[in-house]
Symmetry: D2
Subunit: 205 residues, 4 copies
């Protein structure tokens, strides 16, 4: 394999990229000047050097924003972050989406994946032990918000996490909630599935 | 215009049908045998004869299901229908969707359209006076559920109807609610819009 | 089954229409006034009365355009139609498409279908005997143009028809041709399949 | 701008990549281990070092395949490449597509772009002077094949290049051809545009 083939293989691992587009990326790079390519190569190296995983919420963040340079992200370190709320999400891009919406000012926890419905050994996949420890050590925590996508695996993960943290949450009088369900932007009644209608009716207000 | 052209024009008015498909329908009919076409023609005539508009909920229904043959649909006539709940929907196909889901056992009211945001003379379009009369005359009514699609026009209609029936609802101690909002089936957190996230967070439970 | 159900079943047979849209059609008709529905019903009956199948080219046409009212369509009856060319197409809508393009002034023949690749008894499906008779009786015919869609079944039909009419065409010195192949409008070289590239290269000019 | 922002900007320039996917790429890289990221960074640098632009056909190629290490690609250097044919394509990915199809064994020339219809100063954009020089110096050249995508800009480029190389081609008795036009794989007669039908009819055989 030459560098064209090797690079195509690597680009194929990028999210949403297939063989053909991976190859187009390589040809695109071949046609760019040395400055562009050198810059890209350097930035990729820099990104990794500048990136750390937060020891509290487990999201990847830029060390430049770290207050203490000790693996604590800017949100976990921020005194304005509401310690009473902890939102558990599947992955970094879910966190990004919520953060951008500016509708939430509490803490986050990246679970690191969803729990497959048929799987036995789930603990290896998701940070459930880390979550328990986090809950135990969080002073002033009042509510854990489970925020997973609304599909079978997300539902299963919701139930799994609830079950796992039930005892500890009860012990510390912490409420467990899940994101509300019903009509979302653009939902047309005529084409709604039964679950959405049931939730929309149940949660009417 | 010959019958091909005329029929194409009529099929173009069918929901979701453009010029090309309308023409394909005509050619399709030209190639079918006389029995099929005669049957279709007869059924269309029958449908109209058998159809009435319910004087209570304003939906179109099959007279065969009418108990008294006097323009009262089978749901409005059914003693098992819960008289405490009245769901207001935009159109017949929304009603169909909710009915099929089997999540609701109350009464219905077909408003007959949404209220355009920029329009002044809305009364001519939707059955707001009929709705007020219906509310006034409904014994045992406890709650009016506004069930419109979640888009700007649906929101506007929700506000408009609330405003219009506020006084009468208050007078008879009837609650006004709207369908719940939040994540709907298939919603992925990563790709959610701000409104959906805000509603999902606000309505968490 | 009531007329709603029966009519839904019939609309489901319309080209490209599924259960849901068929039902929407029925609801759409229920909500229209009697004049519209009566008109539609009448036009469907008229269409069939006014429609005949041309005895020469087998396409369905409006009798209003018939010169002799004796099952000869206006194109087959037109003296300006070029008798030297006969284009064989699969179905009426293919004929429509070519006619609308105004690039062809010869005669047509509707084969009535494509020949499935795996089928044995093909004669029952397509009008191959009628085509042979047509070729035998066509005075001044110089060229038969096979005009089928470019997919495996179209290719197979092309070969099948060529084989079937080879002898008779040779006897009367009639040329058999097929539509040209290569780049079609919008084809991008980058995304072209091998067959298209091969044809485009072979037929370069 | 931090390295996340900078890298997002760069990925946005990749073909077919928008803001959101560019950001997902960055998050994807943040979550990968150091080995993967180091490898990617190295390969991008290597790619550029290993890549040269062929002095004959102007395509980008891997120096590893160069015989003389002197900017002559493996196809231009190959004695089995047919010197009688020269295919002019817009860009590297068009060349790739033709090469992969294995339907052509002649030489190539990358024009470097299409000629915009409304533009005056086209010479700066495409390698028209380089093409003329190439034609002049190509021993044994019998035919130049113009192979552009079938859209208005591709058509315009075809005409422009023909006009520009007409004299020199005539002088050396070199034929100029364009890729054939007609039905391409998957074309359905019913949905064909007029141009495609006209070409398919004109180029029937």
């Amino acid at each position: 394999m030459d560098s064209i083939e090797k690079l195509t293989e690597i680009f194929k691992e990028f999210p949403g990229i297939g063989e053909r587009q991976a190859r187009r990326f390589v040809y695109f790079l071949m046609g760019r000047n040395g400055g562009y390519v050198g810059n890209l190569s350097q930035l990729i190296t820099d990104l990794k050097k500048e990136t750390a995983q937060c020891k509290e919420c487990f999201r990847f963040f830029n060390l430049r924003y770290s207050v203490d340079k000790k693996n604590l992200c800017e949100i976990c370190a921020d005194k304005n972050t509401d310690p009473a709320l902890l939102m558990v999400v599947e992955k970094d891009s879910d966190f990004e989406s919520v953060k951008k919406s500016r509708v939430y000012q509490g803490k986050y926890f990246i679970l690191g994946g969803l729990v497959p419905i048929v799987e036995k050994t789930t603990k290896s996949r998701v940070r459930i032990e880390e979550l328990k420890a986090k809950v135990k050590n969080s002073k002033g925590l009042k509510e854990i918000i489970l925020a997973f996508s609304l599909n079978p695996q997300g539902d299963h993960t919701d139930q799994y996490v609830r079950e796992q943290i039930k005892d500890i949450a009860e012990k510390f009088s912490i409420k467990i909630s899940s994101l509300g369900r019903g009509l979302s932007t653009g939902t047309e009644l005529e084409y709604s599935d039964n679950d959405t209608l049931r939730n929309a009716l149940k949660n009417r207000q």
